[in-house]
Symmetry: C2
Subunit: 447 residues, 2 copies
């Protein structure tokens, strides 16, 4: 293990796995089990009130696992556990992923029981990926799926990510921006996340800046002079008085071109109306109003429903951990080994054997009409096959699938094609139709 005290180096990621993945892999190796296995990644139920999830992170995960290797430091660490034979560790030194991964393109809406990634490889390779793939895919999917609800609630108004301080550590914060970009956010306050994942950096000012100055008006003026066209925070003491100070500053120095004021506490709807009236009276119709303060999609919907003149939203806490559904019950299940479909018996749960394909049909109205989960090579099915080759023979073949732009475009397109009921925030009644193909039904019954 790299002795880095804080960061987790790429070399260490091969050890970011559950111990049993390594002990099972050694067992397969000892037993000479080198047959090809297919593992399927899916979740069993949509966490309420989600009507769909956006599959996200699988391309990033696939690209990473295609490069995993055991270096000497990591092998030494494993040797230290006393669980692994020397000969196995020698074999691990040459281990790499040589298999195939098919996946839904990032940003694809996905429903319960649908495969969103299938890994096919010698079992000792496919098994070892499980924990890492799930750890990587789950947060991006969870965060993108929360963020898109907030984007929908904002009805076209820009939404900016303020979540860094609430997210679960470094990686969640950096890759979260990747998911937010896919979901359609306009910008992020997170510098590293935004730079790395190409989402516009946005920032206003904090109460501390105002408080560090002896006078609010002077603080606002100083900041506006440093950053003409900036957004000024007006609620440090009394919000509408703060707005008044912004108006005075703009009257004295119109060249500062303050672009917006930000409300971060209190009754946002009432304060936005009050602020709008003051700004309009002062002829500052072009100065926009940004609101933040523990917002989620429900509050944004309610604010807009009551006609609050808010032009943009900053969202942190609720989106940063997706508080209402911070986890999905993602499974990575063995569905085929050595040419034979496999099935775990689980009372009350749907387990689907065999490698698969997912088809999505468009209705006459141009919207998605329903999905069919089918066997991988089952003929005669309608709709667009959604699982696409991403890694073949251990190499990423669809580099373009890794582009964040692709996911963002795909989400935008999907929002125009999802049945309208699914775009509402409420859980609703009628689920999106997902059927099993005749071939898959027959195989399932047979097993």
């Amino acid at each position: 293990m790299t002795p880095a005290p804080y960061a987790v180096a790429d070399d260490d990621l091969v050890l970011l796995t559950d111990l049993y993945q390594l002990t099972m892999t050694q067992a397969y190796w000892k037993e000479g089990m080198h047959g090809r296995a297919t593992f399927s990644l899916f979740f069993r139920k949509l966490p309420p009130p989600r009507r769909f999830m956006l599959a996200c992170g699988q391309q990033h995960a696939a690209a990473l696992v295609s490069r995993l290797r055991f270096a000497d430091a990591q092998l030494d660490a494993l040797a230290g556990t006393g669980l692994f034979d020397d000969a196995f560790l020698v074999w691990l030194k040459g281990w790499h992923f040589s298999g195939d991964i098919r996946a839904l393109p990032e940003g694809t809406p996905v429903f319960a029981n649908e495969p969103f990634m299938e890994v096919e490889a010698p079992i000792a390779e496919a098994q070892l990926l499980e924990s890492l793939v799930m750890n990587l895919v789950q947060p991006e999917t969870v965060l993108a799926s929360k963020a898109v609800r907030i984007v929908l609630a904002a009805r076209g108004r820009p939404v900016v990510d303020f979540g860094l301080r609430r997210m679960h550590g470094i990686d969640a914060a950096v890759r979260g921006v990747r998911a937010y970009r896919a979901a359609g956010l306009e910008g992020t306050s997170n510098v590293l996340g935004g730079l790395r994942h190409d989402l516009a950096l946005r920032g206003t000012m904090a109460h501390s800046y105002i408080l560090a100055h002896d006078d609010e008006r002077e603080a606002l003026r100083a900041f506006a002079r440093h950053y003409p066209g900036t957004t000024l925070l007006v609620d440090t003491h009394e919000t509408l008085k703060g707005v008044g100070k912004v108006i005075e500053i703009m009257r004295e120095e119109p060249s500062l071109g303050v672009a917006a004021i930000r409300l971060d506490s209190g009754d946002l709807g009432e304060l936005a109306r009050g602020a709008r009236a003051l700004l309009d009276e002062a002829g500052l119709r072009e100065v926009k109003i940004v609101a933040s303060s523990g917002l989620d999609e429900w509050q944004i919907e309610a604010l807009l429903a009551e006609g609050a003149p808010i032009d943009a939203f900053g969202v942190g806490t609720e989106m940063g951990v997706a508080t209402d559904a911070p986890v999905i019950d993602l499974s990575y299940k063995l569905v085929e080994y050595a040419g034979t479909p496999r099935l775990k018996h689980s009372p009350g749960k749907i387990n689907l054997p065999g490698g698969k394909q997912l088809y999505r049909r468009l209705g006459d109205d141009g919207r998605y009409a329903g999905d069919v989960i089918a066997l991988r090579d089952e003929p005669g099915l309608d709709g667009e096959p959604l699982l696409r080759p991403l890694v073949v023979g251990g190499r990423v073949v669809a580099e373009e699938m890794a582009l964040a732009d692709g996911a963002r475009e795909r989400v935008r397109e999907a929002l125009g094609k999802l049945p309208e009921a699914l775009l509402a925030l409420d859980p609703g009644e009628a689920p999106y139709p997902v059927a099993l193909s005749p071939g898959l039904e027959a195989l399932r019954r047979r097993l």
Copy 2:
């Protein structure tokens, strides 16, 4: 920025901040504001049903920020935003944290409004730490505070972390183990997390291993031969039949010394009773029963209340993201600048000006009787002062505070001293008494 595609290198962490921290820092620099500031880290309310939180991560964060520097690649990235003057970037190149940090030792129980870390430094240094410190401290505090409830519910039975696959990315998974260790977990399945943060590695086997074999009995036997003394998963097909197979294997080869069976689905209480009876009948009283499957503290409490003969618990999903309270409303507030206490006006919220100390009093029964939040140097207060110097003049002075062992011991000790009502899972009525000192009350009124 380091072009590492996956990991976040230590050098990049200085950019893991909100944009406004950097623009405000440039503003302070331009205005010649070099006065010392004190920022206080606290949360405003306990997320129900938490009765206390375990402060965790602050020592790790302090050690990290004491080493932050802007290297050329990071400065180039900032230059590319067009927001920063060349002269400021030159100044940032020499930037480092030269201030003081006082903190609660990790593992200390903490309540609403109590300072658990105070940062005192020239304002441009202290301001820049905000986002990163919060991003680092929050997940460890959230995860340790959830995990300790699960440890309490298990009433002395070992609890093992199975959460890697559910946690929010790489850093959450690795540092989560640090928090779990503090909270008193017995082990973790997470190899990298356990190796890095010195928690015992534990692992059983997955359903995929059983399914990859054509026969469950042969799979169990093979695994037990590879790993004498292991834990065997018995619920892949029918749980009690699986138990029967383990008994047969042990009868034929007692030297395999199977240590435990694991139940991972179904009615865990009923299955545990059934399995226990079968094992006891077969004379295998020493074979223990491990249960997992979406467990949280409430389910563990209910299982033990109904007398389920379960010897150890594996907990993943619910602990991995602390689903019931995945976030705390941590604040990092400016409380003093240039010798003057500062206070934001927030209707309905408690804001406490000035640098502080926290005192905890022991009652006659040897348990914590109540806390007093006081001014930093206020005389005449009873109890143990809990904020201790961690970084002085930019250097970590309390290396021993960074040891995970310290936190684990501290939690163990604290569990014996917290009022008993606070150890129950239910939210309960009477909150732990936290008062403001006369000096702090007076200052607050004056402002």
